[in-house]
């Protein structure tokens, strides 16, 4: 399950930010490593909400800055 989540997140991030999936490592920071601006981040969070059918409140979204932190948040929601 967890591998699935990571893979799905990587795919979404790659699509949303227009970067190669290989660059979307777990430790990659959306803004610093993958070139996301504030609008990208909002759109990315929306895409994650869609994909995993969850709600990510703004306060939580602020703390989702890396691929791994997104995966962790989604796991916690799913648990």
């Amino acid at each position: 399950m967890s591998d699935d989540i990571l893979g799905k997140v990587q795919k979404i991030v790659s699509e949303q930010l227009g970067v190669d999936e290989a660059e979307v490592k777990p430790e990659a920071n959306f803004a610093n490593d993958l070139g996301a601006d504030s609008l990208d981040t909002v759109e990315l969070v929306m895409a994650l909400e869609e994909e995993f059918d969850i709600e990510i409140p703004d306060e939580a979204a602020e703390n989702i800055s890396t691929v791994q932190s997104a995966v962790d948040f989604i796991k916690a929601k799913a648990a």
Binding site: G18, G35, L39, V42, E43
Partner: protein, 416 residues
């Protein structure tokens, strides 16, 4: 500023993405061969619409001009503007560097901007609520973003704006850019018009206004300016861009010079939202002002790229305006509507038609009005029916008129 202090402004680069070709060369070849760009709409299912035909741009790939991320966050009208501007800059061999960036600006008009984005997002809003609206909706949709993104993509940091004067927007952009260079506010301007409005809502609105051709069973003959059987305009999409440059700047770098821009006239009918003042009274004033601005006599005019929309109202009124201003000389010149081939690009039309007028001056050839088989008796000028023609073109005018009563005439002259 007196005339002697004003700077001369020349055109050193051109670019076009149109329903008849996606490069300057393909566009001009298309115009010269009388190519038809109109067909049944492919962008959406138009079977419920009164008008089901358009001049769509075919085979355009934004990724040839920008990366995937930039493409994703821009609407099609902005894709056109970015791509066309890059082609025009390349044509001008004008490099934007740290040294000149602040002296080069962008002025790109559009009629309706990213209306498709608004339609898509409205559907999401209605079906799934406000929380699902894209954070990119506003920046993608707003009309000025073609000019904004073109600056980002080219590095042009000078004056930047976007006239939104409906179907006159592209010509207003060229005229406004002309003024900026003429008066020393910029050394060069990337200017013109862009449009991509082949969308369900646009067609709904224009159809309701009874402005569009419904010759759905015969699209290639639907745009027929000055013809007795015309029944409305055909919507087109695309972008035309001119690089305007201060003459000394152009000479100092040995730039190729297509023509000089010498006149910009604008007026308003102050008459009706969509209707035209009788006898094209407002259009005549724009024509007269452009001639005066360029120190031109009516007899100097060789060719007019008409607004020529193929609507019942425009064509005879525009013809009357030309006759009012040029008198008997109106019968000595050529007038053509390239909308017969491209359809009507709304705010983009002034861009591609400015390009056509400049090319006419540069090449001594005038594009035809196709589909003109039986002239309206009220349209009795030489509209270059059917096929293009070789003709010395010392001065070409380009007319654009927009809802709101906006009238614009630009004057281009052979550089000497």
């Amino acid at each position: 500023m007196s005339n002697s202090e004003k700077k001369r402004v020349v055109i050193t680069g051109l670019g076009a993405i149109t329903p008849i070709g996606n490069t300057l060369e393909a566009y001009w070849q298309g115009l010269m061969s009388g190519k038809n760009g109109i067909g049944t709409i492919t962008a959406f299912d138009a079977s419920q619409h009164g008008s089901q035909i358009a001049g769509e741009v075919k085979g355009f790939d934004p990724l040839d001009f920008m990366d995937r991320k930039d493409m994703k966050r821009a609407a099609r009208f902005a894709h056109f503007a970015i791509a066309t501007s890059k082609m025009a800059l390349a044509d001008a061999k004008l490099n934007i560097t740290d040294l000149n960036a602040e002296q080069i600006g962008v002025m790109i008009g559009t009629g309706v901007g990213g209306i498709q984005v608004m339609e898509d997002q409205q559907e999401i809003y209605l079906n799934r609520g406000p929380s699902r609206c894209s954070p990119f909706m506003v920046p993608m949709m707003i009309a000025n973003m073609a000019a904004g993104l073109t600056a980002i993509q080219t590095g042009a940091k000078g004056p930047n704006s976007c006239p939104v004067t409906a179907c006159a927007a592209g010509s207003n952009a060229i005229g406004d850019a002309f003024r900026l260079v003429q008066n020393g506010y910029a050394q060069a301007m990337i200017c013109g018009g862009t449009e991509s409005a082949v969308t369900p809502l646009t067609f709904g609105g224009f159809s309701a206004a009874r402005a569009m051709s419904t010759r759905n069973d015969d699209p290639t003959h639907a745009s027929r300016p000055f013809d007795i059987d015309r029944d409305g305009f055909v919507l087109g999409e695309g972008c035309g861009i001119l690089i305007l440059e201060e003459l000394e700047h152009a000479l100092s770098r040995d730039a190729k010079i297509y023509a000089e821009i010498v006149g910009y006239g604008m007026s308003c009918d102050a008459y009706h939202m969509t209707g035209i003042a009788p006898q094209g009274e407002g259009a005549a004033r724009a024509l007269r002002l452009a001639l005066k601005d360029g120190n031109l006599q009516p007899t100097d005019v060789s060719y007019i790229n008409a607004h020529g929309t193929s609507t019942p109202a425009n064509d005879p009124n525009e013809t009357a305006a030309i006759k009012t201003v040029l008198g008997d000389h109106a019968y000595q010149i050529t007038v053509s509507s390239t909308k017969s081939m491209t359809g009507h690009l709304l705010g983009g039309s002034g861009g591609i038609e400015g390009v056509a007028a400049v090319m006419a001056v540069a090449n001594d050839k005038v594009p035809p009005t196709i589909n003109l088989t039986t002239p309206d008796p009220d349209c009795d000028l030489d509209y270059v029916a059917g096929t293009s023609r070789d003709q010395t073109v010392n001065v070409a005018l380009s007319n654009s008129f927009g809802f709101g009563g906006h009238n614009v005439t630009l004057a281009f002259k052979k550089y000497e």
